[in-house]
Structure formats: C-alpha cells, structure tokens
Subunit: 310 residues, 2 copies
C-alpha cells in the first residue's frame, strides 16, 4: 500500500526536504507518495511547519500523525482542529549545532573575547580570566537540547546547574526545579542559558525579579525562544550593568526589526536564529522512522503532550 505523505511547509523547506525525505522514506522500507497537494481525506501523514498555510486539520480524517519540522511546537499545539498525534522534531544535528552555539558563546563570555576582537586602543592586558571551573552556569531547560549543552559545558569543567519546571534526575548534573530551585540556580550563575520550550509557564521567565537574583554582571545566552525573556526588563538590567551582556538568537519578532533597541545596545549581541537549524538529511530520517513506527504499531518518538504544551 502506498502511503500519502503531505508536505505542508514553505517553498524553501520543500526545496531542501523533497529529495532527502524521499530517500529516507525509501531507506525505511516505506512505499510513500510525498506531495504538496492531496485531497485531505487521502492523507496518511502530514510533515508540517507553521510557515504552511495549512491551519485546519479537521478534514484530514485519515491522518495518523502530524510530524513537525520544528523543535518548537507552540504555534501548532494549541490549534483546536488538531486531534491527530503531534511529534516534535528532535534532530540529532540540531542538538549538535545548539551545543556548538552554546559552548562557543559561553566560552566567548568566559574568556572576555570581545575586548580582544575589538581593541582599537591596542591594549595589552595579560590578566587571565578565571578557569571555567570557577564560572557557574545555570541551564534553564533540561530537555534533549539543554541536557546536551549541559553535558558539553560540564566536560569543559564549567559547574553547571540544570533547572526545569518539574524534577529531573540527570547523572553528573545537579538539577533543581520549581520556583525555589530557580531562585537557587540563578543566585550564583555567572552565565545563564535559556533552553526552555515556550509555554504559559515559561513566558517571561527572565524578568525584572529573576534577573535581579543573578550576581552583578552575569551573561545571558538565549538560543531557546524569544518569549522566555521580558525584553524591557532585560534592557533595563543591561543599562544598569546588572546584566553584563546578552547574546540572543531568538526574538518575539523575527527578523529582529531594524529599530529594535537590541541592535544598538553595546551589551547585546544579536545572532540571526542560527543556534540550531534543522538539517534536512538527519531530520528526514527522524520523520521516516516515525512513519515506520506508526505503520508497525510501535510508539511514536517525541510525541507532544498537549497538557504540557511540548
């Protein structure tokens, strides 16, 4: 039987994915027709990104799963027409890219690189930074990506404390949770990384109150979601020096508008949503594996819990 797989994402996605997806589906032993146009009632699976015009999932009565191309599903999870199982993208290459961005920018702040990269006065100040083992890091969010980053930073001797909303136990990484745990994690962190999903509970988790808990001069790295940060509060904390620097990869509006104060702030570095990119070949293998599992009656990977929102 030939499966009908509807590709509902942007034109650019189609160009990147058509070939790798067909290859991955065949490699998984599936006979599938991958298409951008199909009668809704005939569709077996939907490969989805919110850049698609598809917003009403009700007519897709035969559809067995919606497979997101994105790790973040906040733009689809609340859709009331979506009754089919929804799977997040957990691309192994995405975690690799995220680890590289987080470790790279953590080391950049740790070593104080910027004063050497831009040094028109030719200042030679051989004061050494402390060692990474003397630089506490708080990792807010201990899902696949947060855990991978925490492990990589730990391997470089950074003392990493993980934090998540609900209790987690991860070998080798002390983990805190809940409101009290957040206060404790922030109270000593010189670098804070935000890698939480966007949910009503995590929106503005870095705000005037929580930013004030940090030691003066702490650095913020946000490769997670723009909405995790109260932008006004962060700008105020940067103005006073309470926060020494923020390197931000994600924003409430993207591309970041040209007149946004982040662009001009001397203590902010903007990176253009590049921390973690889904890579077509590895992401296609994840999607094909989930279709194979579904057809074989095996549990889906990375299925979204509608209650939690991720």
């Amino acid at each position: 039987m030939t499966l009908t797989v509807l590709f509902a994402a942007s034109d650019a996605n189609w160009q990147a994915y058509a070939e790798p997806l067909r290859t991955a589906l065949a490699a998984a032993g599936l006979t599938a027709h991958l298409t951008r146009n199909a009668t809704p009632e005939t569709v077996d699976y939907i490969v989805y990104a919110p850049t698609s015009p598809l917003q009403d999932f009700a007519p897709y009565t035969r559809c067995k799963a919606v497979l997101s191309l994105w790790a973040g599903v906040e733009r689809i999870v609340g859709n009331p027409t979506l009754t089919q199982p929804l799977c997040r993208m957990v691309d192994p290459a995405l975690a690799e890219g995220m680890v590289e961005w987080v470790v790279g920018h953590a080391l950049r702040h740790h070593l104080g690189m910027d004063r050497h990269i831009v040094n028109p006065a030719r200042i030679w100040d051989p004061t050494c930074p402390p060692l990474a083992r003397e630089r506490p890091v708080a990792m807010l969010g201990m899902g696949e990506l947060g855990t991978a980053c925490a492990r990589a930073l730990t391997a470089l001797n950074f003392p990493v404390t993980g934090w998540s909303r609900t209790p987690k136990s991860i070998p080798g990484i002390p983990c805190l949770h809940g409101a009290e745990g957040l206060t404790q994690a922030l109270s000593s962190a010189q670098i804070v990384v935000t890698l939480l999903p966007k949910t009503p509970d995590t929106e503005n988790i870095l705000n005037a109150r929580t930013l004030s808990l940090l030691p003066k001069g702490a650095a913020i790295l946000n490769p997670g979601r723009g909405a995790l940060i109260d932008d006004e509060a962060l700008l105020s904390a940067l103005d006073t020096g309470q926060i020494g620097h923020a390197t931000l990869d994600v924003f409430r509006v993207e591309p970041l508008p040209q007149d946004h104060p982040y662009w001009a702030h001397p203590r902010v570095t903007v990176t253009p949503h590049i921390a973690a990119d889904t890579r077509a070949p590895s992401a296609s293998r994840v999607i094909a594996e989930n279709i194979r599992r579904s057809e074989a009656g095996e549990p889906l990977l990375h299925k979204v819990d509608r209650q939690r929102g991720y």
Copy 2:
C-alpha cells in the same frame, strides 16, 4: 634537614608564589627554606623563570634540579652553565586554560561569531554554519597541551588530525608526523592550531610554503610560541585571503609593539599571552612534588631532554 629552595623569578612571581609554594612544600612533607637570596653553594633547588637576573648556574654546585615556572624552556635550555636537571612546568590548570582558549576561539571561527559581534549594518542573515563535524582541524604539536586540546575538540565532533615531528599514537586521534605528514595534515585543515615547543626544527613551521598548502580561507590559532610563525609570510597570506583569519596569543616580542602590523590588520585578533597562565596553587604542588621525588630518589616529572630542547 632543611632544604634551601631559591626562588629566582620576577617580583610579581614572588608575590603570587611565596605563600602557595610554602603551603605545597609543607603539604609534601618537606622542611624547606624558601628564599629569594641564598649563597649559591647552599642552594638545593632553584625555582626559575627567565624573568630572573640569574643566568649563571655554575656556582650552584649543590643544586639538584632547576624547576621552571614556565612550560616553555627555550630561554634556559641552551644555557651552557646549566648542568643540573631541568624540569618544565606542566600545570594541570595550564592545560585547562589552554583548552578553554583553543576551543573557544575554534568555535568562534567555526561559527563566524565576529560578524555578529560587530554588525553595525544590523544584517540578519540566517545562513547556518556547517556542523563542527564538517570542519577539519590540524593540531600541530601533540604534547600534553596539544593532546588535551585535540581531545576537547574531538568531543565537540571536530575532525582533528594531530601532527608531531616524531610518530605518536594517541587513541581516538589520527596522528601524522614528519614533513610528508605535515603536508597531508595542512591540505584539508580549515583551522590550524600551533602548540609546538620552540626548537630549531619548529621555528617558522608556518611559512609561505606551508601556509599555501591550506585550503583558502583557513584560520590560524597560535597559543604556542611566536617563533612558530613567519610573520611576514602570514601577513602576506592574510592580505590575499589565503588565510581568512589569525588569532595570535604569542609573539616574538611581547607585549606586541604598538606599531606592529598585526594590531591593525582586519584579519588578525591579538590576545595578550593569556591562553595558558600558570596558576600558583597548582603549579606550586607540581614543584613540591618534584622536590619530594628528588629527595626520595624517584624520577623527576617533566624533565627536559637537552637534545630535543623540551
């Protein structure tokens, strides 16, 4: 019996080391008199840095070892008056600091951070860099420091090829050696790290010929010794774009003179000899351990081979 340990280094060194060294000597069970002034014939051990005026070791007839505070010994190893055993500093904290500098700047080049750190035109270009697994690195020098850096880069998926003058076998890291091996290592490296000792064989190892072997646009990281690079050849290769960027921590003359072309070159980042600093507490423990070994008739750690020069 009380040992006389002469501290022959700078005033700044004395301020940093007097207390940690006394602590470490006592902790090693040694009864020692640590001093900056002693009759040469009474001295049992010399703790040494080339910033000391001491250049004639002949009068130190009872001295059982000269213990360098520095990892590099090229400014003392050729001293004809030095007949006592000489030990390099191999400080565990020094390797940690070196790994942080090398991994941090490798990731900086890999991720193309500079165009985000300095971005007055507010350019939002979400083109992702390749993954580290697609960015070959050549590590020239596979001693303690080079090996530690190669391991840390390998853990982040960079394909690292080690190179040393003589054959080495290091689990998990392909190692080349000799002139042919150097050609092979450089031919594919997008990032080259120079962590060789300075010897007549390694001086100017990066020169017009070897720089031309690299793929166009490769980055150079030199936290080793200034003399490993032919400065004129590097500047020419930077001018043509054959080398995309050089981040240099060590120079033939330090501090780097204010009129040196490296300061002004848009493709050069100068860091002020901070890649690896000897840290007094851990370095003091290494020195005390070597004195304990010598007194107990055990072999010295990190003894310099006068033939090889390190």
